[in-house]
Symmetry: C2
Subunit: 208 residues, 2 copies
DNA sequence: ATTGATACCCACCGTCCGTTTGGTAGATAA
DNA sequence: TTATCTACCAAACGGACGGTGGGTATCAAT
């Protein structure tokens, strides 16, 4: 009955729960970004953390748990930024401009988690997707709202369908995650500038 | 030595090479669309075709072969359409408009293969990606080219960087694959209309 | 000094994966 | 009639997968 521990592996550095948990999320997000959710194994995640894959189940109940939390936090973080940007003073056109600039900055600051969010949302069961997206506010509605207001007050042209236009604008901004590089800081202003110049003059009611 | 065929399974309907091969590509494309490349098994592909998964190796050398052909043909088909659209007569602005309309139509007609192309390109080794994208012409360059010409002739505003603007325009158009539904035919015109209205008036030199 | 919770190890499970191999019925051609 | 080709079957391969469960070293609190 002698217990033979067979310690040929150095034990992992023991860490408090919160710290290790956020490490798991960070590492998983990076791997999901590089290889996709299905292409990433728990083995790989564990290896990068220096622990055994079985130890992950001290923190999770299934692989899907990790994806859910990653996507949920990415969505929450982005939506928070956008919400505060939508509250600047001025015309609806001013607010739209602020939202565009804020969203690009938000994506640039979180290219990886944004990409994972946009690419891997479909890997979750519908029920979990609804839980993430089903809050009181959401991206498309916010854009649709500000477009409607701008049309009423006359700063935004009225020959466009607000809902479709919101989809187009949001999609355009989101597509930047494919090529936006946050390390190139000077570039960010330029990108924001181009987007506002193109979209604002494309959406404003007159030649401004 | 008696050969016991053990025919408890109905044999698959035997089909000529070309026909079966295009069936494989069609089925694989649909499955890659629904579950991603990594999430799709050869077993599933075979099941939909009514053959054994081992039989697939009469047509391929590896699973990756299927993805390569699917992506390559999707890319070729789209580029062909765009190329012919870029040759309409008129100003560069007219050509840009034609390219926008053509590309949206091209995506709408091939939502599935377009989505697979944009989502699963990264699942291929870099070498294979280069082989697909490395032709004489490519999407971003075509847009950059027409933008430059429009700036020279004065129909397109000159305070924009052609390369960055091309990236933005192309990304905007490509993002439609996430929500464009080809079955709704009346919708297509509306989408094309919105895109041209927004982008053209955002890019043109004057208030047109 | 003892205890109880915490953070992790490690061997193992059943399943599914892409891939390989040997074989064969049916059409074609000589 | 015989030989060859074509399109597929059937079974097995090793390995990787997500997941389980008993065990244990380390820690803070007593």
């Amino acid at each position: 009955m002698s217990t033979i521990p067979n310690r040929n592996q150095p034990a992992a550095t023991r860490k408090p729960r919160e710290e290790r948990w956020s490490e798991i999320l960070t590492v998983a997000t990076e791997l999901f970004y590089q290889k996709g959710y299905e292409g990433t194994s728990l083995q790989e995640i564990a290896e990068r953390l220096g622990i055994m894959k079985g130890s992950l189940y001290y923190y999770i109940r299934s692989k899907e748990d990790i994806l859910f939390v990653v996507l949920n936090e990415a969505h929450k973080a982005g939506l928070e930024r956008m919400t505060s940007a939508a509250q600047v003073e001025g015309t609806a056109l001013d607010r739209l401009r602020a939202m565009i600039i804020a969203h690009i900055r938000s994506i640039a600051d979180n290219v990886i988690s944004t990409a994972v969010f946009l690419n891997e949302m479909k890997s979750l069961p519908q029920e979990s997707q609804d839980k993430i997206l089903g809050g009181a506010v959401n991206y498309p509605k916010m854009f649709e709202q500000v477009l409607r207001e701008g049309m009423e007050e006359g700063t935004i042209r009225q020959d466009l369908d607000p809902k479709l236009t919101a989809t187009i604008v949001l999609g355009s901004l989101n597509s930047t995650h494919r090529w936006l590089h946050p390390e190139r800081h000077g570039n960010l202003r330029k990108v924001q500038d181009h987007f506002t110049r193109i979209l604002i003059s494309g959406l404003a009611s007159d030649g401004n």
